[in-house]
């Protein structure tokens, strides 16, 4: 039994236990237990990982295990983690944990909600631990499908439309991925699906030219790459709180992670050749998302566009293809995951009280619900990159890294991307000013209550994570950077 597989198994066991649960209390208890176990487990994993590395184990992936799964195509269930995966696993665990608490009072059908929720999470965990292309794809799909039901059943507003749109667009992306995975498989020799082994081989450059854009776009759809991002505003706006959290917090990271792990790692030559196209697209994403967010009036739309902007920055940094920027990309994934989860949690909580998400209908909430108000401000500050909170470290690492590429295109795009910090400030402060400060717009809001204990757990956990990442970034950035170095080495060799 491999240690990493527990990450996939715990959600499945939780599923079974949930199936047996009788009432809401038991359901919540089981879900919370499962999520807590995962959180603890990721803590243990981090410790073990750092310990192994400190002991001098410098193989590319640790805790390797391979189980033959389908011999004719050499598909293995093979797992292994490096610093990037560990970072992602921590993120997923934190968001799972807080997501469970944020949906403590989910209605209707709590049992079914958590069933799908945990199934989704097992897909996400599987995606991050596996290093077999096919298993990766399979876990990707497992993570995708529950989303349709979660949004379609428990969502708000135009939920069927959004769920359909989201699923179809992501499925479209995964269709591209399937093609490229098969392409990679056949052109790398056709006898292994293992990422590490494929990385040792050479895919012909002519083939890479076709496969790289397919792969990058396939993952880019999930990473909200312009112009494939439009599922994000609608999807996030309609999704229930915990699903928005998990989706924006973790699922969108699957895109960045995959682009980094598959597209760039396996096809470095084409990546170098075609980076400029995608750099322009991501550069557009960054600015465009930010500008779009400025005039939105729905809180979730603002946040969704903000996610487009921030996730654009992730892909942007990955495409810079140097060690610093890529480290920054992973940090940004973590940071964005945490803060956007916090945002969506808070928006959900505010919406649960005011029954509106329109910023024009709210005001002066700081006075009525100080805890949520202050937390919202903290999330906003993290989002606009305040030092001491996670956003700053990530963005600065990206900008410093991006600035190391000295040709004109990279320079211009970097400077364009940097300007997003101002626009971010504009829309964040606009929202904060409108909904939290000022006079109470709706007299009925006067009587609303502040956060309950489970909401506080969720919010406080996220804030702690954000502050921890933001004020003591060295250990995690080191961990990530050390894992990125071999990949960058391969990239440099391909140049």
């Amino acid at each position: 039994m491999n240690f990493l597989s527990i990450f996939v198994i715990i959600p499945l066991i939780t599923l079974l236990a949930l199936y047996a649960a009788r009432n809401r209390k038991q359901i919540n208890l089981i879900a919370a237990t499962g999520a807590t176990l995962l959180l603890i487990l990721s803590g243990i994993l981090t410790y073990l990982y750092l310990h192994e590395r400190a002991m001098g184990n410098d193989s590319l992936m640790l805790f390797r295990a391979d189980i033959l799964w389908y011999a004719p195509f050499n598909i293995y269930y093979s797992v292994g983690v490096d610093g990037v995966s560990v970072a992602m696993l921590i993120l997923t665990s934190i968001i799972m944990f807080t997501g469970v608490f944020a949906s403590w009072r989910i209605d209707p059908l709590p049992k079914e909600f958590f069933l799908w929720f945990f199934l989704l999470s097992s897909g996400v965990y599987g995606f991050f631990i596996t290093i077999d292309l096919f298993s990766m794809f399979m876990f990707y799909e497992i993570a995708l499908i529950p989303m349709y039901l979660l949004i379609g059943i428990w969502g708000t507003g135009r939920k069927e439309y959004s769920a359909m749109k989201l699923t179809l667009m992501l499925m479209g992306g995964s269709a591209l991925l399937l093609v490229s995975i098969l392409g990679i498989y056949y052109f790398s020799g056709g006898d292994t699906m293992n990422l590490l082994e494929i990385a040792q081989r050479h895919i012909p450059v002519e083939v890479q030219r076709y496969l790289f854009p397919l792969t990058f776009m396939g993952f880019g759809v999930l990473g909200a790459l312009f112009p494939f991002h439009t599922w994000s505003p609608d999807g996030h706006a309609s999704a229930p709180t915990a699903v928005s959290m998990l989706h924006a917090g973790v699922l969108m990271k699957l895109g960045g992670y995959g682009a980094f792990r598959v597209a760039i790692y396996l096809m470095p030559e084409a990546a170098h050749e075609q980076a400029w196209i995608f750099l322009i697209l991501t550069g557009i994403s960054v600015i465009y998302g930010a500008f779009s967010a400025v005039v939105q009036t729905d809180l979730k739309y603002i946040n969704a566009y903000s996610s487009v902007s921030h996730c654009g920055l992730v892909l942007f940094a990955i495409l810079m293809m140097n060690e610093t920027a890529m480290t920054g990309a992973v940090m940004q994934m973590l940071s964005h995951g945490l803060m956007t989860a916090l945002f969506f949690a808070l928006i959900g909580m505010i919406y649960g009280r005011t029954h509106t998400r329109l910023i024009t209908e709210m005001g002066g909430l700081m006075k009525i619900m100080p805890f949520l108000g202050v937390s919202y401000v903290i999330a906003g500050l993290a989002s606009l990159g305040l030092p001491g909170l996670s956003g700053f470290v990530a963005e600065m690492t990206i900008f410093v890294g991006a600035f190391q590429e000295s040709d004109t295109l990279h320079r211009i795009l970097t400077i364009v991307a940097v300007t997003s910090i101002v626009i971010t400030a504009v829309y964040i402060l606009r929202v904060v000013g409108k909904i939290l400060y000022g006079k109470v717009q709706n007299p009925q809001h006067e009587t609303l209550s502040d956060a309950t204990w489970w909401e506080r757990i969720s919010v406080v956990t996220l804030i702690i994570a954000i502050v921890a990442l933001g004020s003591l970034p060295l250990w995690i950035s080191d961990m990530i950077q050390n894992s990125i170095m071999p990949i960058v080495g391969k990239l440099m060799a391909a140049l």
Binding site: E160, Y161, M164, K165
Partner: protein, 123 residues
């Protein structure tokens, strides 16, 4: 078909003769099946199609494998089956007539989807 003319008057009826007859009958049946609205007309057309097949069975058996009896028996069975089929079909037709007061094939649309314009899915 040249054989027909070559052997005309020789007292030998060529195989093509039978085949062409059955062919014409077959496609007449097809035409009826495709063009007529009345269920009874469709049934008549089907009978003709089956019948043309019977001719072929018999002719092939007699001309090509005169020592065997497969074609013969197949024709026999086909006649039996067509009899069954007609009996049941006519029972159904009469039943339909009782319910709908006509026997037109177009009026049988209970299982059909409603008109497209009503089912515009909101995407």
């Amino acid at each position: 078909m040249g054989a027909i003319f070559d052997n005309f008057g020789s007292g030998v009826i060529p195989l093509e003769g039978y085949i062409f007859v059955s062919l014409i009958m077959f496609f007449a049946g097809i035409y009826g099946f495709l063009s007529r609205k009345s269920l009874l007309m469709i049934l008549i057309s089907i009978e003709m199609i089956l019948n043309s097949a019977d001719i072929n069975f018999a002719a092939f058996n007699r001309y090509l494998y005169p020592d065997q009896m497969e074609g013969f028996f197949f024709a026999l069975f086909t006649i039996a089956i067509s009899a069954c089929e007609t009996a049941v079909a006519i029972a159904i037709v009469i039943n339909i007539y009782r319910n709908l007061n006509n026997v037109e094939v177009d009026s049988l649309h209970e299982l059909q989807e409603p008109e497209p314009s009503e089912t515009k899915v909101d995407l």
